[in-house]
Symmetry: C2
Subunit: 235 residues, 2 copies
DNA sequence: CGAGCCGTTGACGCGTATCAAGGAATGTGG
DNA sequence: CCACATTCCTTGATACGCGTCAACGGCTCG
């Protein structure tokens, strides 16, 4: 299940890393040939089935992750046991930045769909970022992006009526996509993202279907009427 | 109103920087005497009256800030004009990290109480952090802390009934404090923090007063019945 | 003293939670 | 291959919490 590759292979694109975040992020760009052989820690690739945890809150890990495809939810729990999804990670996102600081993971990370993951040791990143300013800047940008996401999650997805929240979530799912088609989550997960109950999530989606604001193309895949959803989202 | 000090004065503690975050953060610890004279950008100190903005969303600033005393709200707006407070900055917090990356400020920052601020150019921080790994680590930790705050804000303050949210907010205000006394915000700001209306915030606080869960010691300062508030918060 | 702001309280209606049940889809064991 | 269990989505009935609209009193400030 787990496939290991060396950093050199990754750089060469042999491990299907050509479109990987690390590569796009100029992680390797500033490195010379001689650097690769100094790094023996392997990069692991593996797949997660829906529902499988990648890591759990409180674990002190020494690995970071990139999402190659699929999606995961980052979950936090309240003392009463109820859960809240605070972010979603999708293709090219980086997970586990906190491990870079020696901190425990802050959330449970659980696959929502079949998901491909790359795992690499924090020590590799620490090492490379010391010598490579552009990687370092990229890491800071990642942190900032996560922060922006967190703020937007609060402002857009936890404010207003259930209709507005669901509409905003749907629009968010197709942003930066060529197609207006998107895969939907289970109703329970939708509720945990939006701070509403499973039933309300279901009712709202069912309502959107009846109003033809969304059309089910394939099972649980929907085409969005973006202009009208946007109108609802902003009312 | 604005008082300027040199970095050397700041380091020496002449500018009342002895308890300042920058100092505690070992910002200056790794620097030698000769470094100081290379830095001519002044550090400015000034005060904000309640309601005064420190910066606004969208501005591309080249300054960062530390809060010496008082508090500010970080505000984001929805398309419909309603606002949501996504974080609060208090003593020793750092504001404007995003300026370090050349990004625009992500929020409006507005003083909630009389507030003392230190302002310094990002270029000083950039310069110092290059040569000073401990400052660099500290900056990363700051980012991570902001992220944790953002997540907690969502999980604790935007989930559950109005009673629970208000109770959690109150408890949060006295955490890491010796006393169980705290200054309260205007009802409108409380609402914007918790995702509830001004009236509901007012009613809930008034209710807590009647139940003696909080006691008004001075105008708008309250002593908290922490155990019982905690019970409400976790129900 | 009047104007304005803010906190409080009341009445009412709507939106969502809650409890409950039925149906579709998927997987399991005989 | 077909009962059966399980899970998830959907829908209904009901209750309640909160939003909304409105009014009033205390406070500060010009």
């Amino acid at each position: 299940m787990v496939k290991s590759v060396t950093l050199r292979e990754a750089w060469a694109g042999e491990a299907d890393c050509r479109r990987c975040t690390l590569r796009e992020s100029v992680l390797f760009a500033g490195l010379g040939e001689q650097d690769f052989d100094r790094i023996h820690d392997p990069i692991d690739q593996f797949n997660l089935k829906p529902g499988t945890p990648l890591y759990q809150a409180g674990e002190v890990g020494d690995h970071m992750f990139t999402v190659r495809s699929g999606s995961l939810k980052l979950v936090q729990y309240l003392p009463d046991g109820s859960q809240r999804i605070v972010r979603i990670a999708r293709g090219t996102d980086v997970l586990g930045l906190e491990a870079l600081l020696g901190n425990a993971y802050q959330h449970d990370a659980v696959a929502l769909a079949p998901t491909e993951i790359c795992r690499f040791p924090t020590r590799v990143v620490k090492m490379l970022s010391k010598e490579n300013p552009s990687l370092h800047d990229e890491l800071l940008q990642r942190w900032q992006r996560a922060l922006n996401e967190a703020d937007a999650w609060l402002t857009e997805l936890s404010t207003g009526s259930a209709r507005q929240r669901v509409a905003r979530l749907l629009l968010r799912l197709v942003r930066d996509r060529e197609s207006s088609e998107c895969q939907l989550f289970g109703r329970e997960d939708m509720g945990a993202m939006l701070g509403i109950t499973t039933e309300t999530a279901s009712r709202t989606i069912a309502g959107f279907k009846r109003e033809s604001l969304i059309v089910e193309s394939r099972p649980n895949r929907f085409l969005l009427d973006i202009p009208n959803l946007r109108r609802i989202a902003e009312d």
